[in-house]
Amino acid sequence: MINMHDILETIKMIQDENLDIRTITMGISLLDCADPDIDASCEKVYEKIYSSAKDLVPVGESIEKKYGIPIVNKRISVTPISMLVGASKGDPVKYAKTLDRAAKDVGVNFIGGYSALVHKGFSPGDLALIESIPEALACTEYVCSSVNVGSTKAGINMDAVRMMGSVIKKSAELTCDRQCIGPAKLVVFCNAPEDNPFMAGAFHGAGEPDKVINVGVSGPGVVRSAISKMSDSDDLNMVADVIKKTAFKITRMGQLVGSEASQALGVPFGIIDLSLAPTPAIGDSVAYILEEIGLEQCGSYGTTAALAMLNDAVKKGGVMASGNVGGLSGAFIPVSEDAGMIAAAESGALSLEKLEAMTAVCSVGLDMIVIPGDTAEAVISGIIADEAAIGMVNSKTTAVRVIPAIGKGPGEELDFGGLLGKGPVMSVNEKSPDKMIQRGGRIPAPMQSLKN
């Protein structure tokens, strides 16, 4: 018989430590929906998504019941819509509304892929899509958008960086009556992965199969709890070892759920994303793991080192547990979705600059950070450029998801509710990078790109 201790450990992880499958995301290629007539194209998009994903939610729920493990989100990612816009022309917002309708009808809680990949330059479809993002996010509920502005291979498209500063600001303004929710659904990437199951940055890359199932696991609470049982005299080698073992167990569960879902839906299993994804639930926090390792509060000196170790140990444990690892696979540090990060930001222990340093050693980037509503567009572009540079030089994914709180300043907060949580307005360095941002052009790819 299975060991009683192992059984009770699993039950405790699920019941008390918020262990769950964070998301089953179905990637769907929409390339066969391209049509010179935008209305015909939208109809094909709806049909393809609906017919492919209509069983996603029921299958997810039946797996939850069979294994007794919560699957928090069922989601869809699609081919970057800019490619369809390039073929059909017309108003891209029509696609956003179609995606929103399809997502609602199949019962998923987000659909990602209102995206454009412009790291080396724009096609007309890319430009039209980027310009439409604020309106698309304001008039839809489920649609998530992302734009890839840089890569290690191509460098950074600084014209796109400039545009995104303005898109983020405008998106916040258009949704200022709803806690500025628009930019919370918009990610600006460098080195965006094509198989990421996590929102808001999920899209279905051009190199992916027609349909695929990707799974994102979670479990910061389980890791924190495992470390809390250690003695203060255990050294960091031992801490890393405990993290590895815990990550292995969490990932094996993801592997099981992913293969089961893939089989039930008749869709190939793509990857497991090993990310430690926090939620606002008490105890389900990456910041608390760092504090459990031995920091007085997240944001203190030592935070970057502790996070680097955590991120690496999670990967080492997870890699052996899964056949195919992909997506973002690292620890997430979204401020508004993590109770410990919120507390650290509120107490002043955690600054934007420290978060930027942390993004160099973990996935993904400056995530879910609320900034003052009067932050200049060029400053937002500067934040994006810095993050993209970290990603480009280190051959890793970085991203920016900042939310300008229109009409609010430091000391106030935005409350998005649900998984997106709430975040205090963090102060930013207001010195202007405007002249550099206005230069535009491209930051050339670094030496690291020349690997052949």
Partner: protein, 87 residues
């Protein structure tokens, strides 16, 4: 196919009888039972064969919850434990 039932809570008379009775009603064969009582805290793990069960796992959990009051009950397919704890 096998599943694991866990029952955790305050010890009282008749827990094992109620759980195994519900299993019998659901046509689930009990393969192995392990239980421990530490002071008043009761924990039982039961391995059952669900190949010929007359309901699904979730329905069995509901029946158990109806029959056994005030206990935390989980019914989970054994594969989750095998995949998490065995290499």
């Amino acid at each position: 196919m096998r599943a694991v039932i866990t029952v955790i809570g305050r010890d009282m008379v008749g827990i094992l009888a109620k759980v195994s009775g519900t299993c019998a009603d659901s046509n689930a064969n009990v393969i192995e039972v392990s239980q421990s009582v530490l002071q008043e805290f009761f924990a039982m793990v039961m391995l059952i064969d669900i190949s010929d069960m007359n309901c699904d796992i979730d329905e069995l959990r509901k029946r158990l919850e109806d029959n056994v009051d005030q206990m935390t009950i989980h019914v989970m397919h054994e594969d989750i434990f095998n995949s998490m704890h065995k290499i």
